[in-house]
């Protein structure tokens, strides 16, 4: 029987192709356990939250497993609520923006300070700021609440001593602005050490000749910072900004645990706490999920912009 000439080359390459396939498959096989864990712990809950957000889902549905799809009703209700536009969204965005800027400024200043310090003082300073970073958010929040306690707090005691306030007539937790001022202090205090350490590490990578040469040319400290330091370590700044933004948008404990922050003062709700109150206080899991999805989309949008900027930077470098 004459061999089919068309089949010959195919048979010849089959083993090679199989080998190539195996080669392509190998990394995935090695990744499989990690991917499996991610799928179970991250992807599946995400899918659940998205599907829940299209349902009217309460305790009854939780108990019976029934589903009641209502399409975009939850989103329509949230987006049509002036509460979102007047309170929750401004609270979330302004607060996160302020926190990111302040964290970055304070963190960078501390990094510059660390660079100038001698060995011993640098060790002392970095240990101290690491303590602020290591403190759990819950503990830190209670400390700040205690510091600003209107009746027995350190701050009100000091201001009372100076004759500036009457502690019995002061409560900083009821006003939206002072509430968030305290929350901002808390979040910035907790977040700046990460920025300081990261930026300090980046500062060490700047070749010493660059600022020295600039100094010879007569550049001032301000000029050296903006013309040399910032451009050289820009990618690090961008990463720090992305991470801070993500963290500060989804702040929960630092607001929830403050007096009035868990829902009794609707003026101070942010997206994270609102989602929690809707889901677990009102047992309206569908609505809570919809709020959570909105928060995720918001974060995703911000991150995409940053990543685009970042990749453009890298092309330029």
């Amino acid at each position: 029987m004459a061999a089919d000439p068309a089949k010959l080359p195919a048979r010849a390459t089959a083993p090679a192709r199989r080998a190539a396939r195996t080669r392509a498959l190998r990394p995935w096989l090695l990744l499989a356990p990690a991917l499996l864990v991610l799928a179970v712990l991250l992807f599946w809950p995400l899918v659940r939250v998205v599907t829940l957000s299209f349902q009217d889902y309460g305790l009854r549905e939780l108990n019976t497993g029934a589903t009641d799809y209502t399409g975009l009703d939850n989103y329509r209700e949230i987006l049509g609520d002036s509460f979102l536009w007047r309170q929750v969204l401004p609270n979330t965005v302004l607060f996160a923006g302020t926190c990111v800027v302040l964290t970055l400024v304070v963190g960078t200043l501390v990094a510059l300070l660390l660079q100038r310090l001698g060995r011993t003082w640098r060790l002392i300073c970095s240990s101290v700021i690491m303590t602020a970073w290591a403190m759990p958010a819950v503990t830190g929040t209670y400390v700040w609440i205690w510091i600003f306690d209107p009746l027995d707090g350190v701050v009100s005691g000091g201001l009372d001593g100076a004759g500036l306030i009457e502690p019995r007539e002061t409560n900083w937790f009821t006003d939206r602005w002072s509430f968030y001022a305290i929350a901002t202090l808390n979040v910035v205090h907790h977040g700046f050490p990460f920025v300081a350490i990261t930026v300090y590490a980046a500062l060490l990578t700047i070749p010493r000749e660059l600022p020295e040469a600039a100094l010879m040319d007569g550049a001032g400290a301000w000029q050296r910072f903006w013309r040399i330091t910032v451009p050289t370590i820009r990618p690090v700044f961008l990463i720090v900004v992305i991470l801070s933004t993500i963290w500060d948008f989804k702040v929960f404990a630092q607001v929830y645990l403050m007096p009035g922050g868990s829902g009794s003062n609707p003026d101070v709700l942010n997206l994270g706490v609102w989602s929690y109150v809707e889901s677990f206080r009102r047992n309206d899991y569908g609505m809570g999920s919809a709020v959570a999805v909105l928060l995720t989309l918001l974060l995703l949008a911000v991150t995409v912009v940053y990543v685009k900027v970042l990749s453009r930077e890298r092309d330029e470098l």
Binding site: R26, L59, P150, L151, P167, N171, T174, S264, N283
Partner: protein, 434 residues
């Protein structure tokens, strides 16, 4: 020579197989780790009891377990759950299908979990055993939704007016019996004890304002003809009650600004630190104070919350029920519930925890003992105890903290009483209506 191409071809495949096998073993290990190691012949009931009510519930549970095994032959697996986590524990257990057979539940959760279909209706059992007539009405009503009873009253608590008996005696003051007297005595305290807080008006809890709404003849919500609920917290009577309560802070300055965000625990702390002179506080807080310092016994006085012109203002009767979460062993579960809520075990629990038993006959015994730190609370409960709207929708409203939001905006001066009450009513109706 013949082997070499095959060997070269097989080696990556073999490696692939090994990898697959390895992954399979890993995931199998993970799976089997999740399996439970059951296989017990004796029937065991899982019971959840809240931690923090009874200062030391361990001995009680041991005694109960022994008595139950002796009577039925079945075993008990008692678990203690923190009050603060309890609601989340129940919802996650509902989601995961891991509910206990019997559990203690807060009265306000009965309609919520009942409507979700997680609780068994006990009305038939209660009727068959003829227990209905002897149950404390406030608790029994709180458990009853449209004829179904979602829990058996176990123990109850009520708030009344607690004051510093030593300070009152020192200045020759009498505890108030009307609203005007309450205001007057607080104003005199403000003069006589300028460092104290005469009467904290707190914004973080609804149980301080509720008696004044009810005392003025108002209600928080009422049932309309068609069985729906409607908020009446902005009715003239309710507004008058809220007006009186908040004016003690906003007009008479008898509270402090810090109290605008205080929870009941902050208020008790203030009393404990010697700052607050009069507070609306629960009967269980007496034990908290005494546990801290037995000397409190001589410094506390208790009277029922006064009515506007004499009599009493009603106060919320809260407490715990024992519910059956659709157990596989309904007879055993009911047997346990009956053991815990009636007779010696119920009395023992009430005595140890400082709460009131859920049985009227046992409660009357407590009142007859005439302990000055117990009897006024019992009087408040029997004469002027009342309930909140019994519907899972009111549970949602409480979760949203509508009343607290109203109080805080009045106390902070953001809104008038009328505006804040209208807004609260609208927020409640949104939940009732939808």
């Amino acid at each position: 020579m013949r082997n070499s191409p095959t060997a070269r071809r097989r080696s990556p495949l073999a490696r692939t197989r090994r990898l697959v096998a390895g992954a399979a073993v890993l995931s199998l290990g993970a799976l089997t780790a999740c399996g439970d190691g059951g296989g017990d012949d004796v029937t065991t009931l899982e019971v959840w009891i809240m931690e923090g009510t009874n200062p030391d519930a361990g001995p009680y549970a041991e005694e109960l377990e022994a008595a139950f095994t002796e009577r039925t032959g079945a075993r008990l697996d008692v678990q203690f759950i923190q009050w603060a986590d309890a609601h989340d524990r129940f919802t996650t257990a509902i989601a995961g299908g891991e509910l206990p057979d019997v559990a203690e539940i807060g009265t306000t959760w009965a309609p919520e979990f009942g409507a979700a279909g997680a609780l068994t209706d006990l009305a038939g059992n209660i009727e068959a055993d003829g227990l209905g007539d002897d149950l404390v009405p406030g608790l029994y009503e709180a458990a009853t939704v449209d004829g179904a009873v979602y829990g058996m009253p176990w123990y109850a608590g009520v708030r009344a007016l607690m004051y510093r008996a030593d300070v009152f005696a020192e200045h020759g003051l009498e505890p108030p019996t009307t609203w005007d007297e309450l205001r007057d005595v607080a104003l005199r305290l403000a003069d006589l004890e300028p460092d104290m807080i005469p009467f904290p008006v707190i914004g973080g809890s609804e149980y301080g304002v509720d008696p004044f709404i009810w005392g003025a003849g108002g209600e928080i919500a009422e049932r309309t003809g068609d069985g729906e609920w409607r908020s009446v917290i902005n009715s003239p009577e309710a507004v008058a009650g809220i007006e009186f309560y908040t004016s003690l802070a906003t007009e008479d300055g008898l509270s402090v600004s810090a109290a605008e965000t205080w929870l009941e625990t902050d208020q008790l702390e203030s009393f404990q630190n010697g700052d607050a002179a009069m507070i609306i506080s629960g009967n269980w807080t007496v034990n908290t104070l005494l546990a801290d310092d037995p000397g409190w016994a001589d410094r506390i006085g208790v009277v029922p919350i006064p009515g506007p012109d004499g009599g009493y203002s009603p106060s919320f009767v809260g407490g715990s029920l024992l519910g059956e979460f659709t157990s596989d062993e309904p007879e055993l579960a009911w047997e346990l519930i009956r053991m815990m809520t009636t007779g010696e075990h119920a009395a023992a629990w009430a005595e140890q925890s400082g709460y009131f038993p859920g049985q009227q006959s046992l409660l009357e015994e407590v009142q007859a003992a005439n302990d000055p730190l117990v009897a006024p609370f019992a009087e408040q409960m029997l004469e002027a105890g009342t309930g909140l709207p019994v519907t899972e929708l009111y549970g949602q409203i409480q979760g949203e903290q509508v009343v607290q939001g109203m109080l805080q905006s009045i106390l902070a001066g953001d809104q008038s009483v009328r505006e804040a009450a209208d807004e609260a009513a609208a927020a409640m109706d949104e939940t009732f209506g939808g």
